[in-house]
Amino acid sequence: MASEEILRVSHVSKSFGDLEVLKDMSLRVERGEVVSIIGPSGSGKSTLLRVINQLEHADRGEIVVCGNELCHTDANDRAVYAKKETLKTIRLSIGLVFQSFHLFPHYSILRNITEAPMHVLKINREEAESTAIELLRKLGLSDKAKAYPFQLSGGQQQRAAIARTLAMNPQMIFFDEPTSALDPELTGEVLRVIRSLADEHMTMVVVTHEMAFAGELSDRIIFMDQGAIIEEGSPEEVFSSERERTKQFLQHFTK
């Protein structure tokens, strides 16, 4: 199968005040790929996802999503962003699943899922609802359509949040530590959903601390530390790395 580039990040830097969170970061993702990003807290993993999702502004660098340029560096060494319509196109091509779900508490689970398709994509109610019901069935939440987020367990809330993201039919989904806010016994149900998406060849970038999961699922693992990529490769390559920093980090996860 010919590879098709879906995301290219080149030389992106981002600082919060004096703190440089991303240092000349570059990354490529191809369609159908599952990439996991691992690394200690504060290594810039989440910031990378947030910059690509336009929740943070890059200071410089180039980002191209599905052939659309999000930003590039101008002659003054500053990131220049695309115009509004392009930003929206790019936004709609990427889904983001948050660590703490961020479901809309005042809407039922069904309405959480149909709200954006109806009001952003202008899909009619019947179609949006039938898609939502189908997604809920697939994610094992059929009986929760009328429930409100507070009535669901954390694992169910995260699955509902994934359904909400899938309903927008994105080209690629980012997961920002999707199981970090969950009790250990609830992570399995969320990881199973992500695994089933991988089986369907959904392009995914997953920031995670679940090493076994990342190893089993990913085509590629990226180890980040202090805003830069330290190591990148197949799970086998990264997990058997001889590099001191990588070994030191991975040590925390072996019993």
Binding site: G95, P105, H119, L121, Y148, P149, M168
Partner: protein, 214 residues
Amino acid sequence: MNYSTSIPYMLEGTLKAIELFALTMVFSLPLGLLVARLRLSKSPFVHLPVRLYLLIMRGTPLMLQLFFFLFFPPLVLGIPVDRFSVAVFSFSINYAAYYAEIFRGGIESISVGQQEAAAVLGFSSLQTFFRITLPQVIKRILPSCANESMTLVKDTALASVIGIAELFRNAKNMVAAYNMIRFFAIAGLIYLIMNSVVAFAFSRAEKKLNYYKD
């Protein structure tokens, strides 16, 4: 003493008070929402003038503001004004300032994650405000709004100072005419009844929004 003339006179005043209350609510709530949004603007050209407005409205007596808007337009600008319109205008811009601060507190209490989730789904900032933020804000600010609205019911009595024939002024006239202070007691009872209705309406609204927790 003749109750057949004094009671209708008191009720007339009550209706005037209700009219002032209702019109103030109708104008001050949307205005307060707009002011809250402008107050939260990042641009100093927007939020600084808004903060000055909030300071003046909340920092000077409403009674003084009533006199100002009664006398300033005709005496300085040569524009004739109608007393009741002056009352509605003064009450509206005064209460908008208080409601604005309540709205602002509510808006700021909603987690930024809600806005981010909406943004990532492609909602515009206006859609995010009206579909995601505002409904949650309303639930949170209902108790403070009930407080403010009950104060407004009582504050309508201030309109008497610019000659509006509302409940308090009419009661005072009756007390003077018949030399009987029982009209003050009747007025007090009527204010209490009006505020019972307001309190009941707000508690109904609170119950209605109890279908979810966050």
